[in-house]
């Protein structure tokens, strides 16, 4: 199994989630994060002093999937999250050794 962790623009969440359904993905976990990257925040002025907003709001999506569909999931996420503008984010793929569904005790593939 793989854990796919995607950092995306916040307003793209609904599209990403919608795009994953057809692949049979029934669950995912989302958190609010701040991203620092090539995309620079606007220079803002507060009470006459300029400052650079370096951390921008992003959404982190974590979804555990069977290894065989991992590549496809990554592609789908990228397609859905893309705006072609800087700051669209990244997708990282990691190994999961084990997964358990707490309610039933099912493990691995069945737990997802």
């Amino acid at each position: 199994m793989k854990l796919i962790m995607a950092i995306i623009k916040p307003f793209k969440l609904d599209e990403v989630q919608a795009a994953l359904s057809p692949l049979g993905i029934q669950g995912l976990t989302v958190s609010e994060v701040k991203g620092f990257g090539r995309q620079k925040g606007q220079t803002e002025i507060y009470r006459g002093a300029e400052y650079q907003v370096s951390f921008l709001p992003k959404i982190k999506v974590e979804v555990a999937v069977k290894a065989e569909i991992a590549d496809q999931v990554v592609e789908v996420i990228c397609a859905a999250a893309k705006t072609d503008k800087i700051g669209d984010g990244k997708v990282f793929v990691m190994d999961i050794q084990k997964a358990v569904r707490i309610r039933t005790g099912e493990t691995d593939g069945d737990a997802l």
């Binding site: 916040p10 606007q42 002025i45 507060y46 992003k58």
Partner: protein, 442 residues
């Protein structure tokens, strides 16, 4: 007698008349009456002024976090601009030498013939300080403008909105106001609107409706299939605080519209107005609680807030004449209207962020229509003519202004700006920069 703002210094006249007939020391002297009448304007005026804060918090609580700073800014800007424009133009257009349809074009300047070098002259024509009346009328126009900002929130550009506010407070509101409170043709006809269910509230509603139509709905509010996607307000304590402040301010709004406090009869009337105002609001709130429980199985706090305000707007056209039981009923009907008007406007895809149309437009019309129920001097026909005339003029004039703004400077931010929120794109300032910034998916 129809209580129009133009004629209603009856209390003073009564006191003066009494001055000669009544037993010594029972009556109010002319100067004391002058003071008390003016005090009523000032005290009730500062309560109405506080309604600006009420509108501000109500609206700031019902928009999303990302548009909150903008909503705050617009509300303090509205109140500021309204005051300046009403001085520069509005007051005299509404009250000075009204020819039936319009007053004069010139800035207001205080003049108090009653107070001469030799002291107070009881024979001078007015029973109150001119400035106190100006102050009281000024805070009313600010309320009208505040109504608009709630409806068009979350997608309108700042400066075009401010331009609309200038026109509304300097020209549109005063012109229609002159027809009734300026002693113009509607008053002559017999139209009755004690404290402004139509003249203030539905006028704000009509201007907002025109704006909402020209502007279009927020992105994502209505699905392609006609589905309504609720966009919950971000801070309900703010919205509730705003509602309580508005409720408080309404004692000034309706109570001060008695326009006099210098006789026993006047203060008795003001007391009655306070009571009816309060009971109508209570009736609206309780009705919405019960109705939303019955219809939706859950009470909707934001609708209850709207319901209290709907009750207040409903009683505003005739807060003096109803019995307490009728005041409760008038407010309760306002509550019912709110419950049904909110989804109704959604069905029309008219996106009204804070529910200003149900509250101020719909209940404003209802309240004006309800006047004959308790006031035999009013007739349904006259009321309908007044509602229609005010509505037609205000809606048309507003529509023209919105359209001109749309084709010239543009009134709506880009889709991306809307998605990011006006706070970041228009102001560069978040309302709560330390949390809530990247709220999930919104």
């Amino acid at each position: 007698m129809t209580k129009s703002k133009f004629f209603a210094v009856g209390g003073v006249t009564a006191a003066l008349a009494l001055g000669t007939a009544a037993p010594a020391h029972a009556e109010v002297t002319a100067e004391t009456a002058f003071i008390l009448n003016s005090l009523s304007f000032l005290m009730h005026g500062f309560l109405v002024m506080f309604m600006a804060a009420g509108f501000c918090l109500l609206e700031a609580g019902l928009v999303r976090t990302k548009n909150t700073s903008m909503q705050l800014l617009k509300n303090i800007a509205i109140y500021s601009v309204a005051g300046i424009m009403f001085w520069a133009l509005g007051y005299n257009l509404m009250y000075m030498d009204v020819n039936g349809w319009i007053g004069s074009f010139m800035p207001w300047s205080a003049a108090d013939p009653a107070i001469t070098e030799a002291g107070f002259d009881a024979a001078a024509e007015q029973g109150y300080a001119a400035g106190s009346d100006w102050f009281f009328q000024m805070v009313f126009v600010a309320a009208t403008a505040s109504i608009v900002s709630g409806t068009v929130a979350e997608r309108i550009k700042l400066w075009p909105f401010m331009l609309f506010t200038v026109v509304l407070t300097a020209i549109i509101y005063p012109i229609q106001g002159s027809w009734t409170w300026g002693g113009g043709w509607l008053t002559e006809m017999g139209f009755s609107d004690f404290a402004g269910s139509s003249i203030v509230h539905s006028v704000g509603g009509w201007a907002a409706l025109a704006g909402a139509i020209v502007l279009g709905a927020r992105k994502g509010k209505y699905g392609p299939d006609g589905r309504v996607n609720p966009i919950p307000g971000s801070n309900l304590p703010l919205a509730t605080a705003g509602t309580f402040i508005l409720w408080l301010g309404w004692f000034g709004f309706n109570g001060g519209s008695q326009l006099a406090m210098g006789s026993a009869a006047d203060i008795r009337d003001i007391a009655t107005i306070y009571i009816n105002t309060n009971l109508a609001a209570a009736g609206g709130a309780v009705t919405v609680m019960v109705l939303t429980q019955l219809i939706y199985k859950k009470v909707d706090l934001t609708m209850v807030l709207n319901g209290a305000l709907g009750g207040l707007v409903s009683i505003t056209a005739a807060p003096l004449t109803p019995e307490p039981s009728l005041a409760i009923i008038i407010g309760a009907v306002g509550g019912v209207l709110v419950v049904f008007a909110v989804p109704f406007f959604d069905k029309l895809k008219i996106d009204d962020v804070v529910g200003a149309l149900p509250v101020h437009l719909v209940c404003g019309i209802w309240g004006t229509l309800a006047v004959p129920l308790s006031n035999s001097d009013a007739s349904f026909v006259n009321q309908i003519v007044g509602i229609a005339a005010i509505g037609a003029f205000t809606f048309t004039a507003s529509l023209v202004v919105w359209l001109i703004l749309k084709v010239t400077v543009g009134i709506r931010v880009s889709d991306e700006e809307e998605a990011l929120g006006l706070d970041k794109t228009e102001l560069g300032l978040e309302a709560y920069p330390e949390f809530g910034a990247g709220s999930t998916g919104r």
